[in-house]
């Protein structure tokens, strides 16, 4: 086995939980199926499974701690499920693509937008929140203009999250969020319009 094959198996062990479990637990694992010979497999089996799992978890923690701050409201809404969902997102993504934290955050939102990934049915306004965070992340570059129509008022959603309340309490009201970024502006201008402007 050459160094390239050795590193390939290591990288898979670090990033693929299912492979890692099979590698360390399956006594009948066939070396050839991994592109290795028996000696190579014996060598790699000398890795400490606990150390590998620990390192793998540290990778998840690192990515989450970097990407999470880009989508703070979604992480707040998901509470202690956020990191587990982020780990599941990492597990299904294409590992060959290098993403920066902002790109990871955007891909995480897109993963959450596939409704089936959330086992419990979230409050309806949660999907508006996902759309909002995604549009906010896209507001970069020299020039940006976007308008998002929401079914639930953004200010109410953020207020409830800020107060630690229940998103199911947010009632439907039409809301538009607009972003405008022109050359020379460091941050986009964000405008929120809710109709009717008061709660009935």
């Amino acid at each position: 086995m050459g160094l390239a094959e050795f590193q390939q198996v290591l990288a898979t062990l670090y990033t693929d939980e299912a492979f890692r479990r099979q590698f360390f637990e399956d006594e009948t694992l066939n070396a050839e199926s991994l592109g290795l010979n028996a000696g190579d497999l014996d060598l790699l089996k000398r890795l400490n499974p606990g150390e590998v799992a620990y390192f793998s978890q540290s990778l998840v923690n690192k990515h989450y701690s970097e990407a999470g701050p880009w989508v703070p409201w979604v992480c707040l809404a998901l509470g202690n499920k956020a990191k587990k969902l982020f780990q599941r997102y990492l597990g299904q993504r294409d590992p060959s693509k290098s993403l920066n934290p902002r790109q990871h955050a955007k891909a995480f939102i897109e993963y959450l937008q596939e409704r089936s990934v959330l086992q419990e049915v979230p409050a309806p306004c949660f999907y508006d929140l996902l759309k909002y965070e995604r549009c906010r992340l896209m507001a970069e570059g020299l020039l940006y203009l976007n308008v998002l129509k929401m079914q639930y008022p953004l200010k109410d959603i953020l207020h409830v999250l800020h107060q630690g309340g229940d998103l199911w309490l947010v009632g439907a009201r039409a809301c538009w969020v607009a972003w405008l970024k022109l050359p020379g502006m460091q941050r986009p201008l964000q405008l929120i319009l809710t109709w009717p402007s008061f709660k009935r």
Binding site: A4, F6, P95
Partner: protein
């Protein structure tokens, strides 16, 4: 001994490491420090920036980089070149690094002795290289490729190992010595990483130091981490512990011509002002051993 000293002198002459400027006590720049670094400019000798954050800069990052470059000497510190990858280097990444270095014009730049990717997996973190002769060859070949793009001196950093790889043909110190000897690179000795590995894997850090070509040390890193059970975690999240200061003093006592030391704080980030004491401590230590004023 005389032959050895002569060889060292020749290597230094070739690499120009001894000609690099003395920078003093610097700070690992984080965006949260943007305003404060200007406020405390007189107490921060230079800044080390994470190169990856400025490779495809938007207007905000470009403005930040311009402001920093106008006020400080900047040292770019790369995270994802993956010099240990047997599949070779990502040429796009390397070209972006070259462009950044061209813009900043630093006295040197740094990367890690690690691999972060294979041909189809981006690990996204620094991971240890198996300490084998094949890995030495791969690493040196990759450094040669880097040289085709960047002629500014490159210094290489030892990493924290969270796991030990089987099949090693040499120790980590021997591996580092070998690649430094075969390339024209300097050493960025991360004192905290050395201390962390020594605690976690039970070896003597002084013996480790004695196996290194210390005349190649250009820069130091230091910071504190945290304990998790019986392990030390290199989280860059706390004040530099006394053991790391002691190890730094032990190194400087050996008359190693270090040019710079960088406090590398990331997590649990205090204000810039709160870190000035540690910078002052490193500056004082350098002064004590005649390294930097």
């Amino acid at each position: 001994v005389e032959e050895g000293a002569a060889a060292v002198a020749v290597i230094e002459q070739i690499t120009g490491i001894s000609d690099l400027p003395v920078l003093g006590a610097g700070l690992g720049y984080r965006p949260a420090f943007q305003r404060d670094v200007l406020l405390y400019r007189s107490q921060i000798d230079f800044l080390e920036i994470v190169a990856d954050h400025y490779m495809c800069p938007g207007p905000q990052k470009r403005a930040e980089l311009t402001m920093l470059a106008k006020n400080f000497t900047l040292i770019p510190h790369g995270l994802n070149l993956s010099l240990g990858s047997a599949d070779g280097l990502n040429k796009g990444y390397l070209a972006r690094m070259a462009r950044l270095i061209d813009v900043i014009d630093p006295p040197w730049w740094s990367e890690h002795i690690a691999f972060t990717r294979t041909k189809n997996i981006e690990i996204g973190h620094l991971t240890p290289i198996p300490y084998t002769w094949e890995a030495v060859d791969v690493f040196c070949r990759n450094v040669e490729t880097v040289r085709e793009y960047i002629d500014v001196p490159l210094i290489l950093e030892n990493i924290t190992n969270m796991l030990q790889l089987p099949g090693a043909e040499m120790t980590e110190a021997q591996f580092i010595s070998e690649i430094l000897t075969r390339t024209d690179c300097g050493l960025l000795l991360d004192i905290t990483n050395l201390h962390t590995n020594a605690v976690n894997f039970g070896f003597d850090p002084i013996e480790f130091l004695e196996q290194l070509p210390l005349e190649r040390v250009v820069q130091l890193h230091y910071v504190g981490g945290h304990r998790q059970g019986d392990k030390l975690i290199d989280s860059h999240s706390s004040d530099t512990p006394p053991e790391v200061w002691d190890l730094m003093a032990e190194l400087l006592r050996r008359n190693v011509p270090v040019k710079a030391a960088v406090l590398e704080r990331d997590d649990n980030l205090p204000t810039c002002y709160d870190l000035l004491g540690e910078l002052s401590g490193a500056r004082e230590l350098g002064r004590q051993f005649g390294q930097w004023a």
